[in-house]
Amino acid sequence: MTKTLRLLGAGLVTALLVTSCGSSAGSSDDGVELKMVESLTNPARTAVLKGLIEDFEAANPGTTVDLISPPTNSADQKIQQMLQSKKGIDVLEVRDTTVGPFTANGWLRDLAPDLKGWAGWADMTQQAVDYAQGEDGTWYIPYGFYGLSLFYRKDLVEKAGFAGPPASWDELLQQASAIQDPDAGTYGYAFRGGTNGNGNLVTAIEAYVADDLDKANAFKTTDGKSIFAAPEALTAAQTYFDLFEKASPPSSVAWGYPEMVEGFSNGSTAFLLQDPEVIATVGQSTAIKPDQWGTAPLLVGPTGKAAQPVATAGWGMSASTEHAAEATKLIEFLSSGEASTTFTKENSLVPILTSAASDPYYSEGPWASYVTMTNAPDTYLSVIQPRNVDWWTEWTQKADGDVQRVITGDMTPAELLAGWDAYWVEKWAAA
């Protein structure tokens, strides 16, 4: 019997060992350990972040930071599970697309009281302050901004007989069509038909309705209707889909971010509409030399205006944190001074600090187009898309599918716009 009991005991111990949970995070005898989790993980960025965290730890003895870096594809789900369990997370990367659901569930801490009187606000651009201080609370401090510019091949534009890069969507169609030569393996435009393929079409539509655009909700015109119902939207959509028909690689129906960037970097496409983070990638290309490419401001519509749909992410705090004071210090550290500048430079982001404007890094070379856009706010309207709504992911899935349906002939541009208009009108009515 003793033998049997011993065996039973061994079995139970094994089961308990196998199924036991990890130890809980938090304070140790030596000080406080903050759990921090990032979302848009990539190895280079994580290395930069770890360097900054070391600087923070050196400046704040007694506080250590454990950085968790889940793979980007599943990071937001992982963060969501951690937030839902109400433990194991103090500081997190909040994106403009996740802030909506995260706050709706009460998972984020309103930073307004913690950051009251913080000196760092003074050095922040108005755009960063606007994004940080929302109507219902301060849920995160942006670490930088993503914004579109046109990457173009100087040599191909010149060879096709044009004096300079296109300034408008119409000119882009004209130049890209002239450059397109599939037999030679050269294509005009790196079309995005795959994941997030709807984004550039919406940008085109916003440029065409720019005069009547509601800047605070760039999916609406000033009369309260959706931009997709405006007559100009159809012209924009037709021009955009013409870009695919006449000036893009046929396989770009399925192109997502990596294929677009590869298409430009390997020299096969002449134009690419992308965020500044691509500057570093294209700079490393061995297929095209630095003097062969440049960036131009975002394309304007028929009335000479463009709408820059700003995308952002930043550092926030979980509502369940037990170390709010230390977490606030970490967020302040990352959002100001040298740490912020290092992070935006190393990750090719539009900076959040006003002091960065005087840095030659941002005023020369490929970054110059961003300065041009910043200096002409009446031409390049900085607008906010409703990316924080709960249904944003549902919307992008639907919209991406519809873009592919038009390209593959299952839908017309007019049907697409009617569907998008109906979708948003219904959502706004229910909200």
Binding site: T4, L8, T19, Y187, T393, E394, Q397, G401, R405, T408
Partner: protein, 324 residues
């Protein structure tokens, strides 16, 4: 040729050469089933039962109850019970008919070539030749690679402009201009099927080879002596002998292929325009937009369909076995 052929059944009827269980040397006396023995058995079973209970059945039941609640990322604080609403949402989704059609094409289009090619490879590997071990390792290699990684690799291989597939086909003169494989509804499914066939052939090859190696040489020699040709030996001796392995392997593969979104997700994400969406890639898409209640409903429906398929499949095969 055409004479009386030795079959597994006739072999089974012959007197066994070795000692019979329970008789003669080496046979253990039957032990009495006591409470103590029951406890011992339970002690050995307990860890596995606890493990399976916690990691399989608990999540399964939790997921199942989500299917009957309004479990949405937009508001977890009010996950009220909604009865069969999530199932109605799934059944009324306009994407569903296409998804079901694609799933059937995906399962049948993957399974049949995987089985045929896998069987052929297993027959080939059963023979003795130089570097057989190396060939085996090379052929079994795909099974060790992550499905999602395979998806990404094939996505670049089938890329219309920079992909190696078009390059090779152009060089051998099969195509004149690049084919946008993943961009055309007509070719996207073909491309994902090719990737999955490449991946899954290995499993059949491994399983069938193992089964073939269990066929005793004496049966094959007896069949040869009886004048059976290669085809007849294969169909009337080998296949019946490894029938159980084939049955289980096919059943497992149907379930796995049905539940295998990795390659499609990596290659096309279900596109273009949902043309390669199967039930499980669709489930991922629904999960990503935070509709966990609807996703759980899809998952539960998949579970029921596969359970029903397994039961009917096994019953049908059992019936065939009995009739023989």
């Amino acid at each position: 040729m055409g004479g009386r052929v030795t079959t597994p059944e006739t072999i089974a009827r012959r007197p066994a050469a070795g000692p019979r269980p329970g008789s003669g040397r080496g046979a253990a006396p039957r032990r009495a089933f006591t409470g103590r023995r029951a406890l011992t058995i339970l002690a050995f079973l307990a860890p596995a039962a606890v493990f399976v209970g916690i990691f399989t059945y608990y999540p399964l039941l939790t997921g199942a109850q989500m299917a009957f609640r309004d479990w949405n990322l937009s508001n977890f604080t009010d996950a009220s019970w909604v009865g069969l609403d999530n199932f109605r949402t799934v059944l009324h989704d306009p994407v569903l008919p296409g998804v079901l059609r694609n799933t059937v094409i995906w399962v049948v289009g993957s399974l049949v070539p995987q089985f045929v090619i896998g069987f052929a490879i297993a027959l080939w590997l059963r023979r003795h030749f130089r570097f057989r071990g190396l060939y085996q390792a090379l052929i079994f290699y795909p099974w060790a690679v992550s499905g999602f990684l395979i998806g990404i690799l094939f996505r670049w291989m089938f890329n219309g402009e920079f992909g190696v597939v078009n390059d090779l086909l152009e060089k051998v003169g099969l195509i004149d201009s690049p084919v946008p494989w993943l961009a055309q509804p007509s070719t996207a499914m073909v491309a994902v099927l090719i990737a999955n066939i490449w991946y899954g052939v290995t499993f059949f090859a491994i399983m069938i080879l193992a089964a073939l190696q269990s066929v005793p040489d004496e049966i094959l020699e007896a069949a040869a002596l009886d004048g059976a040709g290669r085809t007849r030996t294969l169909l009337q001796i080998v296949v019946p002998y490894i029938r159980i392995t084939l049955t289980v392997t096919v059943l497992l593969r149907v379930i796995w292929i049905f539940n295998f979104p990795d390659i499609i997700y990596g290659m096309t994400g279900g596109g273009p325009a949902d043309k390669t969406h199967i039930v499980t890639t669709w489930l991922i898409q629904v999960t990503q937009r935070g509709d966990y209640g609807v996703a759980a409903a899809i998952g539960l429906m998949v579970l029921v369909v596969l359970l029903m398929f397994s039961v009917f499949y096994l019953l049908a095969l059992r019936e065939r076995g009995v009739k023989r």
